[in-house]
C-alpha cells in the first residue's frame, strides 16, 4: 500500500515548485510525500492557481492535510492576490481562508526571481520584474539554504522584500508546528 500525501503544493511553475518543495523538505520533516498541482504550461498560470484554490481549500478542510500556495504578486502585490483568492472562494461558495486553516499563501512579488535575487545577496525592488531566471530550476538549492538559515535565526537580511516577510509570517503562523 502506498503512503498518503502529507502536503499539497499549488503553484504556477516549476521554479516556484522546486524552491518551495526544497524549502519545505528542509524546514519540515515528513514532507517527502507531497502532491504538486502546477499550472499546465505557459500563460494564465495565475488564473490556474486562483481557480484551483477553492477546491483545494475545501479538500484541505476535509483532509486536514496542509496546503501551500504560491502565486506571483506581479504588479498587484500580496494584498491584492490574497483578496483575489478570497473572492475566488466566495464565487465558488467556499468560505475564504480562516485563522485555523493550515493553508500558507506565499505571494512572491514581482515574482519568485525577485526572492532568488534577494537570497543571492542583491538589493531588490518588488516593483521591478526583470530579475534574472536561473538556468535550471534546481540551481535554487543555495537560495533555499540561505532562506532556511535566515528563517532559523528569525531574521531576514534587511532590507527584505515585504512579500518574503509576509511569507515568513505565514509559514510561522500557518504551517510550523
Amino acid at each position: 500500500m502506498s503512503r498518503r500525501v502529507r502536503l499539497v503544493l499549488l503553484c504556477e511553475d516549476v521554479q516556484q515548485e522546486t524552491f518551495a518543495r526544497r524549502f519545505l523538505k528542509r524546514a519540515i520533516t515528513q514532507v517527502e510525500i507531497l502532491r504538486v498541482e502546477r499550472a499546465p504550461g505557459k500563460g494564465a498560470a495565475e488564473q490556474f492557481v486562483r481557480e484551483r484554490f477553492p477546491p483545494e481549500l475545501r479538500a484541505h478542510r476535509s483532509s486536514r492535510i496542509p496546503l501551500v500556495v504560491l502565486i506571483d504578486g506581479d504588479k498587484r502585490g500580496v494584498l491584492h492576490r490574497l483578496a483575489a483568492l478570497d473572492q475566488a472562494c466566495r464565487s465558488a461558495d467556499v468560505p475564504p481562508r480562516r485563522d485555523g486553516d493550515r493553508v500558507l499563501i506565499a505571494v512572491p512579488t514581482w515574482n519568485i526571481e525577485t526572492w532568488l535575487a534577494y537570497l543571492n545577496g542583491a538589493a531588490v525592488d518588488e516593483g521591478k520584474k526583470d530579475y534574472p531566471r536561473l538556468d535550471r530550476p534546481r540551481d535554487c538549492q543555495r537560495h533555499v539554504d540561505c532562506l532556511y538559515d535566515m528563517c532559523r535565526q528569525r531574521a531576514l537580511r534587511q532590507p527584505s522584500p515585504p512579500s518574503l516577510d509576509a511569507a515568513c509570517d505565514e509559514y510561522r503562523s500557518r504551517l510550523k508546528q
Binding site: 500500500m1 500525501v5 517527502e32 507531497l34 504538486v36 499546465p40 505557459k42
Partner: protein, 449 residues
C-alpha cells in the same frame, strides 16, 4: 592524497564530512575509527561518563547516517549527457532528429516511434559494448529498415557531451534487402576538431586524443570495431565515450518477468529487467553506501517496507526477498510473491538510488506501468530532483496523464508522424491547442497542431 569522503551526522544533528586516504574503499569499521579519531582527538581512553560511549560500534555509526564516497565520485559523469539523437531509415524513424535535455518526456500516439528511440539506444549500447553483432537480435538486422522506403542505408548519430568534450558517434549500416543481410558501412567517432576513430571498408583507423593518426587495424563489418579498442593513455576521449555508453540503461519494466533468484551478479539490466535481482545484487555490492538511501526512500513510499534481503539458497544463488514490518510483525516475501506494482516500485527507486553519482543515463519506457496513481508523482519528483545532479540524464516515454502533466510543460516533446511518413518532434506545450486545459486533457482530445 585524501581520496575518500566519510559523511555522517554529529551528536548535535549537524552533517559532517571527513576526508580520508585509503587505497581501497574504506570499510565501515575503518570509517568508524576515522570518525572516532576526528571527534575525540588525543588519547582514546576517555571516561564514558564524560563523552558517552568512547567506542561507538558500527551499528551505532550507521544510525548516524554514515556514508562513504570516493572524492569526485559523487559527481562522476554529472555533466555527461546525450544532446541529440539522429536516426534515418530505422523502422518508423526517417530523417528523425531528437534533441534531449537532462530530463525529457517523449509523448505521442502509438506507432509514432517513442519505443523505437529506446530500441535504437539499446542497440547502439549493445553494439558498442561488443555484446552483439550488427545482425543480432534487437540490433540492426534486416527487419529494421523502414518498410515504406527502398533505401538500403541506415544512419545513426549520437551527439554527446562528456564533461564539456563534445563528441559525435556516427554509424552507417548497409542492408541487402532481399537477403536481409546487413553490415557496418562506416563507423566514426569525431569531435569538432577532428576524428578519434574511423572505420570503413574493413579497416579501422585510430586517432590519438590530439587527433594525430594512431594504429590501423583490419576489422569485421559485422561488429563494432570501435568496441574492440582497448583503453590507452592516448585515447582517453574515445575510452570515456565507451564508458559512457556502458552506463546507459534502457529498460521497460515487466515485473511479472522478474526472476526472484539470482545465480550471479549482473552489471547490465536487461531490456525488461527480468534480471533485476542479479542487477540489484551487483549494484548493492558495488555501492553498499547507497543501499541505505534506497531503503529510506522505499520506506517513504511503500507502507510497511523494511528492507531487501538477498538470502543464500544454494551455491552462489541468492533469493531476493522484501521484508515488511506491519503492526509490529515482521515478515518477508520472496520477490515473486510481492505484487507487480511493488516490484515495479522497488525497481524504479533502485534505478534512482543505486545508480546515483556514477554517471548512469536512464531511458525508461512507460515507467508508470503497474504503479498506483499515488505512487507516480513522488517518483517523478525524485527523478526530476536527481536529473542533472546524481543522475546526469533521463529520457522517459509515456502516455500517462501524471507524467504528461508533471513533466510535459517544461520537458515534454511530442512525436508526430507527418503525411510524408516522417516523425517530427515539437515541444509539447507548443504542439497542443487548448490553453488553460491540462496537457493530458489536450492530448486526450487529440488537439495536436
Amino acid at each position: 592524497m585524501k581520496n575518500w569522503e566519510i559523511h555522517y551526522t554529529t551528536k548535535t544533528g549537524g552533517e559532517q564530512v571527513l576526508a580520508m586516504e585509503s587505497q581501497e574503499r574504506p570499510t565501515e569499521e575503518m570509517a568508524a575509527m576515522h570518525i572516532r579519531n576526528a571527534e575525540m582527538p588525543g588519547p582514546h581512553v576517555i571516561p564514558t561518563t564524560e563523552r558517552g560511549d568512547p567506542n561507538p560500534t558500527v551499528t551505532q555509526l550507521r544510525k548516524k547516517g554514515i556514508k562513504i564516497t570516493r572524492i569526485g565520485e559523487a559527481r562522476s559523469g554529472q555533466h555527461s549527457s546525450i544532446k541529440r539523437l539522429y536516426v534515418d531509415n530505422y523502422k518508423c524513424l526517417v530523417n528523425f532528429e531528437l534533441p534531449l535535455q537532462e530530463l525529457t518526456l517523449l509523448v505521442g500516439p502509438n506507432g509514432v516511434g517513442k519505443t523505437c528511440v529506446l530500441s535504437v539506444m539499446f542497440a547502439l549500447r549493445r553494439l558498442l559494448l561488443n555484446r552483439a553483432k550488427i545482425t543480432g537480435s534487437r540490433i540492426f538486422n534486416g527487419w529494421t529498415p523502414t518498410r515504406w522506403q527502398t533505401r538500403s542505408i541506415q544512419v545513426f548519430e549520437l551527439d554527446v557531451e562528456l564533461e564539456s568534450d563534445a563528441l559525435r558517434y556516427r554509424l552507417e549500416v548497409q542492408h541487402d534487402r532481399p537477403s536481409r543481410r546487413a553490415e557496418i558501412r562506416s563507423e566514426q567517432l569525431t569531435t569538432n576538431e577532428g576524428p578519434l576513430f574511423k572505420y570503413q571498408s574493413g579497416e579501422a583507423q585510430l586517432y590519438r586524443d590530439d587527433h594525430s593518426e594512431g594504429q590501423r587495424f583490419p576489422a569485421e563489418p559485422s561488429e563494432s570495431a570501435l568496441a574492440r579498442v582497448p583503453p590507452r593513455p592516448d585515447n582517453t576521449r574515445l575510452t570515456r565515450f565507451l564508458e559512457f555508453m556502458r552506463k546507459v540503461i534502457v529498460c521497460g519494466l515487466y515485473p511479472a518477468g522478474f526472476r526472484a533468484e539470482s545465480r550471479a551478479e549482473d552489471a547490465e539490466l536487461n531490456r525488461q529487467a527480468s534480471n533485476f535481482a542479479d542487477w540489484y545484487r551487483h549494484m548493492s555490492q558495488e555501492r553498499q553506501d547507497l543501499v541505505s538511501d534506497l531503503t529510506g526512500a522505499l520506506r517513504e513510499v511503500l507502507e510497511g517496507f523494511k528492507g531487501i534481503r538477498m538470502e543464500k539458497v544454494g551455491a552462489g544463488t541468492r533469493a531476493m526477498s522484501v521484508v515488511f514490518d506491519e503492526h509490529g510483525v515482521e515478515y518477508q516475501l520472496r520477490l515473486r510473491t510481492v505484487s507487480d506494482g511493488q516490484r515495479a516500485l522497488i525497481a524504479l527507486y533502485s534505478l534512482l538510488h543505486l545508480t546515483a553519482g556514477q554517471g548512469y543515463t536512464l531511458f525508461l519506457d512507460e515507467p508508470d506501468n503497474y504503479l498506483a496513481l499515488a505512487e507516480i508523482q513522488p517518483w517523478l519528483i525524485a527523478l526530476a530532483d536527481a536529473c542533472g545532479d546524481t543522475i546526469p540524464q533521463a529520457v522517459l516515454c509515456s502516455h500517462h496523464p501524471e507524467l504528461i502533466d508533471y513533466l510535459g510543460p517544461d520537458r515534454g516533446l511530442l512525436l508526430q508522424r507527418e503525411a510524408s511518413g516522417v516523425t517530427v518532434v515539437k515541444p509539447l506545450t507548443e504542439a497542443t491547442l487548448g490553453e488553460g486545459l491540462k496537457l493530458s486533457e489536450r492530448i486526450a482530445r487529440g488537439w495536436q497542431r
